[in-house]
Amino acid sequence: MLRLVATRLLTLLLLVWIVSIAVFALVLLIPGDPTSTLLGDNATPEQVATLRASMGLDDPLIVRYGDWLGGALGGDLGTSMLTSYPVTQAITDRIGITVSLVVLSLVVSVVVGLAIGVLAAVRQGGVFDRIALLGSSVGIAMPNFWLGLVLVTFLGAELGLFPTSGYVDLGADPAQWAAHLALPVVTLAAGGAAEIARQARASVVDTLQLDFVRTLHAKGLSPLSIVGKHALRTALIPVITVIGLQVSRLFGLSVLVEAVFALPGIGSLMVQSVFDRDIPMVQGTVLLATVVVVTVNLLVDLSYGWLNPKAALTS
């Protein structure tokens, strides 16, 4: 098990390193001089030169990458090109909202997705199964931010059941915190739940056809125990992969959900930075989001060992 963790950690570090190169390489794609976005077209050559020097643009690329990565490792992702506000600070100010949103949505989509998928599999071919299958296809094909718009329009604005925008800190007022996150979480979780339900159904159906399930019946176990204790554990292995993919997906899509519900999280920071073409801010956000995603994926990966004792040994 220890060796497994060590190899996975090494893979993760390698992955993050490649991502850091990719993210850094973004600056190479900038057409023209980045200083012109800051100083406008009327800047004097002296102004440009001073700014270039202060931004380190005159150094060779490798040196600039080294500086940036070194800073990032120490928790310093540079400063905003527009406001000189530290990127790390800007992110930590807002990450709580995004993490609450993503984690809650992940929990909801896993619970709802698994419940629907397993139930559909057990009642394979029945009415519930058909509805679930159709529903999950629709859920996967639906733009999730559009669901948010529909929810805001009909549940928020029309009926006034939920606040339609903004955020209240958990510490300040837990009830309001939950109320403000309810619709965003439903919006974000729907697509994930649909994908998990689909995979869970397929996986449980396959598992229930395995030989060992017949042995379990012959032992006199109840269907509940056969599905819940045995089949689900084996069936979860491919589902876990899908859940791992959801983390990255939810993180990305939270940008849209934050925009719909005017939540001041990482997503809105990202949108603003893209409009401002504030490259250090964009780079920092992408890098940090990726680190969070791969870390969660590592945890998901390690859960394989528990689900599938065979994998823990061989890999």
């Binding site: 990719a22 990305g252 849209l256 964009v282 992408v286 990726t290």
Partner: protein, 295 residues
């Protein structure tokens, strides 16, 4: 013993792979309907400039937020523009965007994937790690970052999505190349001195057809969803052009008075992506068992 007898008996004349595929696909009625839907959408996209009932960009302020009716079949938006006409031109933009992203994705992903799967060894290790890394970045954030450097606009946004989704084609092509490499007929072709390029053209590419269709339809659906998202944020299609995503952008402010502004573009996206996914799944399910492992 019985198995041997069955094998010895001449089976029904072998059905060609393509006919078997068509028979299996035809049995999935929903998929056939959805393939029809896709056909209609493409037709609308191609004919868009000639079939709009009104000028999609003409602003008639008197018609502002008109409900669906005789004058505007599907109502009018906050600037008094005809929603039906805008949905039609948006179909063109959306299909163009989805196709562009998919082509970019293929152009990047396929050659590297074939290379990695065919050469194996170090090339494969390095390319695969890079693909893994790119897949680890939340795709929407990555696409936004690329838009940040390239600048806003539908073409840049779609190039971004093409880059972000390229690892999917990479993985698919690599998988196909890995499997086919092991086939004996490749071995035979190589042993008689066929050059690699010929082997790839005559053996590898034909075998890739069905996994490719599956991946194209899925990626296209993915790209359309992302186009909608980016345009909704204002990073994709720029006004006065319309895509379904950009039509949603301003819709919420007027949703109370004009709910069709929220519902119609979203339903259009939903239908298109559902059609793409359904057709993709049906193609996957219709591939013969002998090629199943490739898909």
């Amino acid at each position: 013993m019985t198995a041997l007898v069955e094998k010895a008996l001449p089976a029904t004349p072998p059905e060609s792979a393509w006919r078997a595929f068509r028979r299996r696909f035809g049995r999935q009625r929903l998929a056939v309907v959805m393939a029809g839907v896709l056909g209609v959408l493409v037709l609308i996209a191609v004919l868009a400039p000639w079939i709009t009932p009104q000028d999609p960009n003409a602003q008639t302020l008197l018609d502002r937020l008109d409900a669906p009716g005789a004058e505007h079949w599907l109502g009018a938006d906050d600037l008094g523009r005809d929603v039906a006409s805008r949905l039609i031109v948006a179909t063109r933009v959306t299909i163009y965007a989805g196709a562009l992203a998919t082509v970019v994705s293929m152009v990047i992903g396929l050659p590297f994937g074939l290379l990695a799967g065919y050469l194996r060894g170090w090339t494969d290790a390095v390319l695969s790690r890079i693909a893994d890394a790119l897949m680890a970045i939340p795709p929407l954030l990555f696409a936004m970052a690329i838009v940040a450097v390239l600048g806003r606009g539908v073409t840049n946004a779609m190039i971004a999505i093409g880059i972000v989704t390229a690892p999917r084609f990479f993985r698919m092509a690599r998988g196909v190349a890995l499997v086919i490499r092991e086939e004996t007929y490749i071995e035979a072709a190589r042993s008689i001195g066929c050059p690699t390029s010929t082997i790839v053209r005559t053996h590898v590419l034909p075998n890739m057809a069905s996994p490719l269709i599956v991946q194209v339809s899925i990626t296209m659906g993915f790209a359309i969803l992302f186009e909608a998202g980016l345009s909704f944020l204002g990073l994709g299609v720029q006004p006065p052009d319309a895509s379904w995503g950009s039509m949603l952008q301003r819709s919420t402010q007027f949703a109370g008075e004009a709910p069709w502004l929220v519902l119609l573009p979203g339903l259009a996206i939903l239908l298109t992506v559902l059609a793409l996914n359904t057709v993709g799944d049906a193609v996957r399910d219709s591939v013969g068992r002998e090629n199943r492992r490739l898909v």
